[in-house]
Assembly symmetry: C2
Homo-oligomer: 336 residues x 2
């Protein structure tokens, strides 16, 4: 316990204590094989005794890189947890840490502003998580020396983007209905400004139009169960309504409850599909068929794209991560 009171122990201190040169200490850390074993042991003991820890700033200054990826959270939702999880795991695997900043509630942050703030921080590249439109989306240009990947369903003119295939997922759900003999599909949307909701609606519409079906007026929801319930009450009165696609599971549940309260049975009278596959957590014996996106995979892809761009400057790319239809029993086969 001969610990000194000196603020920070430097390599130089270790070198003196071990009776070797500064550079040898550096070598013990970075290329241990080039140092004789006896010397290495002396250095290690000295480091131990003094409690040496390499200085991040000095090291990065010399190396010209940080080993950190910046993550900008424009929006922090439930699915974001899994995405961050994927980013963090992939980062660790590649030897990177994460530096994170967040748009404050109420604040209006542009891409340029986010990039400016990030470039003051220790990062070699960055990931923007962007689920709503932002003013300067089309005009934004990323700093040339900072590979930038945007997680968003929109295509960007210059930056690489990664996204769930929300549109494809919605199309898949719709086609599932149609392939089961349904002649039409009603849609309950999420919040208007949400890009996810917009994409899901687009996919729904496309799937119907591809079969020459005129899409009915979509019902406006806000992601929560109550808005789904309200939509369900309306739908229950429509005799041609046999299939409902809700933009998330909570609203789907609201729809189902409303149908039940109106004396209708799911799936016998009306079939329902939701998104995100999370209802089973809250509802026992849940029967809801749901489109699930692999948020974790999304994060992994985004991180890998950034790291790839750091190692070998690459051009713009666009990655889509497909969704999966988790089948339960909320869709009736009308073809029988």
């Amino acid at each position: 316990m001969a610990t000194m009171d000196k603020k920070n122990v430097s390599m130089n201190d270790v070198a003196i204590a071990a009776g070797v040169s500064l550079k040898t200490v550096s070598r013990v850390i970075n290329e241990p094989d080039s140092v004789r074993e006896s010397t290495r042991d002396k250095v290690h003991s000295a480091m131990e005794a003094l409690g040496f820890r390499a200085n991040f700033a000095a090291r990065s200054l010399k190396l010209g890189r940080y080993g950190c990826i910046g993550v900008v959270l424009f929006h922090l939702s439930g699915g974001a947890v899994d995405m961050i999880d994927g980013i963090a795991d992939a980062a660790e695997e590649r030897g990177f840490a994460l530096t994170m900043i967040k748009k404050r509630a109420g604040e209006k942050m542009t891409l340029a502003e986010a990039a400016r703030r990030m470039s003051q921080l220790p990062v070699d590249g960055m990931i923007f998580n962007l689920r709503q439109m932002v003013d300067d989306f089309d005009t934004f240009e990323a700093p040339k020396d900072l590979k930038t990947v945007i997680i968003t369903p929109m295509e960007h003119p210059t930056c690489s983007t990664v996204s769930d295939d929300q549109e494809g997922g919605a199309r898949m759900a719709c086609e599932y209905f149609l392939n089961h003999g349904h002649k039409n599909v009603y849609f309950v949307s999420g919040k208007k400004e949400s890009l996810s909701s917009q994409c899901r609606m687009k996919g729904w519409r496309a799937a119907l139009e591809a079969r020459g079906i005129e899409p009915p007026e979509p019902l406006q929801g806000d992601w929560n169960a109550d808005s789904g319930y309200a939509a369900g009450l309306v739908l229950a009165d429509k005799p041609d309504c046999t299939a409902v696609l809700a933009a998330n599971d909570c609203m789907a549940n609201g729809v189902m409850m409303a149908l039940r309260d109106k004396g209708l049975n799911v799936p016998d009278d009306v079939s329902v599909i939701g998104f995100d596959d999370e209802l089973y957590k809250t509802i026992p014996n849940s029967i809801l068929t749901s489109v699930k996106f692999r948020h974790r995979e999304l994060g992994v892809r985004a991180l890998n794209e950034v790291v790839a761009g750091i190692e070998t400057p690459s051009s713009r790319s666009r990655t889509l991560v497909s969704g999966v239809l988790v089948e339960r029993s909320s869709v009736k086969d009308l073809r029988a």
Copy 2:
């Protein structure tokens, strides 16, 4: 657009371009008032023209601090989102960014290991989010030069801790039942290894014992609705069961569904309280009374504690953030 191809633009480059000294450029950035306006303008133009961005590494090396707080996520749950949100907002307000690392799935990370990894990164202090027991919890000692705050319901011998008052929340819910004339309260727990579940159980037990009531055998759940449903089926057959406290809302919902399927009504036959107040998102017109914890506030407090400890080395402290009982109509008043 006379942008150079030179890798990084340094203050020196700016100084030369502006025809001033290096130090003056530094002053323009750090103490603009000490520079004559005309000079300042010249420097600003040069910075603009060259695309100068201050080098984080050099700056931190000189200053001896990073302006970053490390966050270690041992566990990434739903509630963690709000907590991170609080940490991030508070950090920004205090002028700090976050550096994050995460325990990988399956990996067994000790506090010491986490601290070792963090201290290689650009951080001035750190926050551990720890919701399960870890081997070296009691023996862990934080690095002396890195203020460490642990978010956990357990008390730590040397580190500051911040926690929801889970035990108090459970007590509050229990007393709410008792004050409404209930003579006993059944409990459905979460996963065994979860500290939250353990604390909630402890509070439930304490509240009953304080009134001289022998707590019944708790029912083991796993946080999900299905386990709550199973518990509900068991409870429905117990004639003395008028009140059920479930360790989260999903299980509470499972309990309620089971009771309904057994022909019992909530709250007329049995009263129920949950935790986390999130059922309303998924269930329309939810009636579940629930104990809600302020996760965001938790994050804010943790961050503030770290920053305070950085500015003026402080001793160990313990912060409890109280919960709130969100009253709906799932509890019947038996006193009438």
